[in-house]
Symmetry: D2
Subunit: 267 residues, 4 copies
């Protein structure tokens, strides 16, 4: 599947403010960047750094006055369209066999205080393990939550959303991540682009670490509790413990944001 | 400085429970392990994994019934006794020059929601930058907090402690980390051992990433806002974003903890 | 039903500290105080004040050094043993007909942030209203929570308990109150004594304001989601918006608490 | 001082929703209502109830479709312009002498978890008591906070604001209330109108219960930490434990709010 992506960001900094941006699709075997260009005012220097787990890049700028950033890309997604059936067939990696780098994704993070959900998952999903557990959690969220823009915000946590039973992709992904970790399955948060997100915006899904049925080790498998993005139509930007790690804009000082515009089309 | 360390942990699991432990001193140039041994019941297998940022190791066990773990080590600390004067002379690395692996330590984490402190640090510590800022924060915490065991717990965050103005080393380190990050300086949490901790227990300090005056890059510098541990008397176990990452025992299921015993002596 | 109640409280204040106590059974038609006496050191003066909604009394003391307080009472409970069937038959008072003094019990309080549960109750209990809604909530809590001493504390809120799915009577009552208010039914928190609380301690239940089938107005009906106390075996001490209002001891300064002892027997 | 007040509220309910409104100036000796009228669509019935502590009234409506409410009033404020000097001369009522109805204003409430600030106030304001303590707190807030619309919201608590050091009148009042209660002085939250609020909106102040120098008992004294409203230019709507109790609109179901407009002029 080919995707055509256009993003426009506009913001203003009264004084010079260091900003970290993460909005470019990550280059990786499952998603090939056919073309990609980020445009900024000529006066602004870009400094790139590898992003978390070496998935994609972030870039620093020092913003001043009006800043308009445009990112345009054509991406070929080669990820297979994992269906519910396949997810259910993946098995859990026993925790004592997990590679060291997956361990941090078992821990509580800023928006995903997973430990407090241990009793809930043990009782609600007692019958299932591994991929079947993840499929059951995904279905439970889809059944019990309503997709409602405008009721959650940048401080909303998985615990908040679990109480309120509504939110957007960010909130669905946080609950998915928290319930997976509470089940002893490493889970991380992935930001990205997908064509049917409504209203159009950045998208977010969970990724869980499960045994690769083909190979020996484990693999990160995307899971979208909102059901809005199919794996073969998802272009991942970056990953982290939760939304705190993959914000498209983190500013270290006051900026006023005049909005952003995201367009994703099947090309 | 040579330290002699003995730790005893006892807990009980009614059913088999996977547990991740992190209590051994990390091998690194600044701290040489002269001898170190971890003893467990013979029936329990250990699976080691590298810990965060490759500082030290964690190990997995599957606990069942009564579990008693003993760790004994002799460690030679070669870290120089950084004094306030030296800390004040270290300079900030401009954020756009930070290496990628330091970036995550600027973000909000489970117990250190740093962003919400940006206004406070900008006004309270306006005159200082870099190492001088860190020294000023350390002094401010020492002046405004009282070391009080028993009033905080495993869910206490930097925000809680900032309001309550008291706590233990964990809380002091969390506030230090949060105020450093809010100042745009990468900061992580380090667990360890030190001889004068009172009452004797695991210890915790912050580490901040500042420019190395000798070399080119940057370096992690330990900062103890409690004032209980000198750098040359601190044996670090591991590091993470905050206490959620370096718990000495993380259990994935119910265990009842019958206590722990920590002894650290100058040898 | 006659109950015999004995309570012993011991605490220590290094310096004089004003303390507000609330541990005596409230005199009211449904519970007649046959005998009741509170004993304190002779040097300590008592100043009584009516408690919230004129249910019972609180008393002030200025504590200094070691303070031991004993309360002994014989109480005759005349409250009828409301069974589930009766609760289900009580009807909701339309909000616009509520008396002014019930209004505050619709609002969010310290431990019962009810508004955030509106989506959950609307979907989970959609079929029911009034007393039937309350009976359904009580059953849902009983089914989904495990009574577990030691996992919750004085800062645990209804939202926390809703995530963690376990706790003690205080937590059960908070969740009951929050879900009732989210349903538009005024609900308050009542502390009291009951004979089968295990381990023996102060008890707590919710009270909801529903239409009195006999009379015109409304009435406060006790609801115990733990199932430990029958209405005719419950001696109420006081009421409030949540546990913050009916603590048995509120101290305005540091006291060290050496424990309390509660005995309740059918007489 | 005469004030002329006009308020317009517009909102929409797709289905009938019970709403509680509180926007009319309270009649009381210190503020005489010269004229006051509330206009609603003719199809909507109003049911009035006395508000908390019998200060003013709330009214219920069942909203459906588009609802526009207008309130117009002329008010004569007879409250004396308490200056800092006078506040400093008021003395504390010893807690054991407080009337019962003031007691609840010592407790933690939804947005004012006062107890956690006890260490802070004891150390920061150690030198002062009673009215002088309140004056010192007011000054401290004015010095350490910046009035910044748009950064706080309906879930922001006194603890949040204390960390973030900025907000609007609601947040200033919450911090004032929390620090007063932590000092053992009863404090409540008052909503109202004042002419110089910028941008124009509902206003909020704290009220503290201190000894009346003329009389025997105590009295509620308004304290505005924002400094925007003088006591003789403040028309109080209602009081409560915090903002949760005096919202101008509490809806028990989904309404979409299209904005409100507040005009207050010296007449």
């Amino acid at each position: 599947m080919k995707l055509s992506i256009t993003v426009e960001l506009q913001f203003h900094a009264a004084q010079p403010v260091d900003c970290l941006l993460q909005c470019e699709v990550a280059a990786m075997p499952e998603q090939r960047i056919l073309s990609g260009v980020t445009r900024l005012p000529a006066s602004i220097a870009i400094k790139r750094v590898p992003a978390q787990d070496s998935v994609g890049e972030r870039f620093w700028i020092t913003a001043e006055k009006d800043v308009a950033i445009t990112y345009e890309a054509q991406v070929e997604i080669a990820r297979s369209a994992t269906d519910s059936a396949r997810l259910g067939s993946l098995s859990e990696i026993h925790k004592t066999e997990l590679p060291g780098e997956a361990t941090q994704y078992l821990f509580d993070s800023r928006f995903c205080a997973a430990e407090s959900f241990q009793s809930f998952v043990a009782s609600e999903f007692a019958e299932t393990r591994g991929g079947a557990r993840i499929a059951a959690i995904r279905e439970w969220i889809a059944d019990h939550f309503s997709y409602t823009p405008g009721v959650s915000g940048p401080h909303t946590s998985a615990r908040d959303s679990f109480v309120e039973r509504r939110g957007v992709c960010r909130d669905y992904a946080h609950v998915m991540v928290a319930l997976a970790r509470a089940s002893g399955i490493p889970a991380r948060y992935a930001s990205g682009y997908a064509p049917d997100v409504e209203p159009p915006d950045f998208h977010a899904v969970a990724e869980v670490f499960l045994a690769d049925p083909q190979g020996s080790g484990g693999d990160w498998v995307p899971v979208d509790a909102t059901g809005m993005a199919k794996p073969d139509e998802l272009a991942i930007i970056g990953v982290g413990r939760d939304a705190a790690d993959v914000s498209f804009l983190t500013s270290f000082g006051a900026v006023s944001f005049s909005g952003h515009n995201v367009r994703v089309e099947r090309a």
